[in-house]
Symmetry: D2
Subunit: 161 residues, 4 copies
């Protein structure tokens, strides 16, 4: 495969449970998204436990790191919650894996009107194939280096430190 997508949950993959009225996780939307994107690039999809990124613990970030280490692909896209995306990026960045790893996510869940999920995933799938080895956040149409990015929660956008 050329490209690996790793699902870890986050707003991108939240699902509305009509019996409980809660936005949580069910199956990842990524298989449907991959089909919708009409990808012909060889792509592997790996689904890790789907978590709200505010619930991610060190062990969860280690699991993401191990998935990146084990991957045969040079280009990796990680779908991740936005709230702690820089923290996971820092764990991956410090490991200096020699691959191009792009973390992305969404401010609005894929299944909700006006979602940015599909744009962001397209952006990340592009730059993961074109950037040099390293760890990046791809959000708001911009590439951020893993050690120079923060989420401005009041504005709902990513920016340099």
């Amino acid at each position: 495969m050329t490209l690996r997508l790793i699902a870890t949950g986050g707003t991108f993959d939240k699902h509305y449970n009509e019996l409980t009225g809660v936005l949580g996780f069910s199956d990842s939307h990524l298989p449907a998204v991959i089909s919708r994107a009409r990808l012909t690039v060889p792509v592997a999809l790996q689904t890790l436990p789907l978590l709200d990124s505010l619930d991610m613990q060190d062990a969860d970030r280690q699991r993401v790191l191990e998935a990146c280490q084990a991957a045969d692909e040079q280009a990796l896209v990680i779908v991740h919650g936005t709230d702690t995306m820089p923290q996971t990026a820092a764990v991956l960045g410090a490991a200096r894996l020699g691959k191009t790893i792009v973390l992305t996510g969404a401010m609005i869940p894929y299944e909700i009107a006006n979602s940015d999920a599909l744009f962001n995933l397209g952006f990340a799938c592009g730059v993961a194939q074109t950037l040099p080895a390293g760890v990046y956040v791809g959000m708001n149409g911009q590439v951020f280096a893993w050690d120079n990015v923060t989420k401005n929660r009041a504005a709902g956008v990513f920016q340099p430190l």
Copy 2:
């Protein structure tokens, strides 16, 4: 601005006219798409006459070339119909403008269910900022050089020659 989007029509921007039942062109969807993508990268939008790419003539391709030449930005994304995207890419590629120009489009109009438009635009906006100067087609999650790409109409995908 960092990035310039140039709308030329194509399936991406087709609109259903409920009085005539015809899929044609009205206003471009790109202002809404840019807002939805929550871009913070400085972006200029330029809307040329919206055309089905099968209707594009030499003069129309010259207009696209002139827009690229006149642009102050180094990174350009052209939203274009898929049927003659390689032809327009060839016109732009032969001009050797020293900018990074990525043509993209959609197999399904933005306003129709299961559209690939948003993914493709995100992909193009990413690689336009990361590829070296040159002219490319960004479709199906892949980057194609302008002089080595064709649309396989039977399969509905782009591929090398």
Copy 3:
């Protein structure tokens, strides 16, 4: 069953063919719509040949009439193209079947943004169960008697004669 839905095509059920770029017919959307509507009323779905109503001939309207005659249900909803909906209503109305038959459709296909299809189908499924026996058109949030309805094509709405 309590309610029978009869699909005959029309704008409601048009589907975008991404290989040809044509809005035509594939499978009816009604199975998905019925699931989405979370119906618990016992409902039968019958799919006749899907046609643009401008292409409907006398034989096609006879087929619709025969489906209504053969139905065991007292409440029938016919999903139909808008352009000749009053003509088919007239054929059914003249037959005095003693059932409640409501024709409905859509100005925008179900799979296109801002479609009225789901609202109209809900409207028709409601009034088909509550109106006395007779033939009606249910569009624009109104019930029209079969012998006092026309489509105002310039305005894209139904109105009395």
Copy 4:
């Protein structure tokens, strides 16, 4: 006006707040829905405070009752949360207002994929114009009398007592 829509909130009108990640209330979707439904029936829209129906108190139900009493229209549709829809229906039913009042709502918010909101509203707008005076719940493609309806929360559907 012929028909009055009264918005009271509920799942139908929930909105995802991208800064907080919470499904709550902002402006009602009903103005957009009315436009989308291409209604030509004269319709008044009245927006009461938007509430999760689990948060509705006696005073809130009195406010709904007063809105129904004050309405000039004979046909009223109330968009309401599903969890306590039968309780509000009971308050209205006991008041014997001599109008046709139909409560409806949604299992999935209007702005989330696969929502039943538009179907249900169409259904309610239809039966509100065709049923005799009384108070009803219109959900799942069925009409329920106000004094013989309950929500089966495990199944997510309405049923007779």
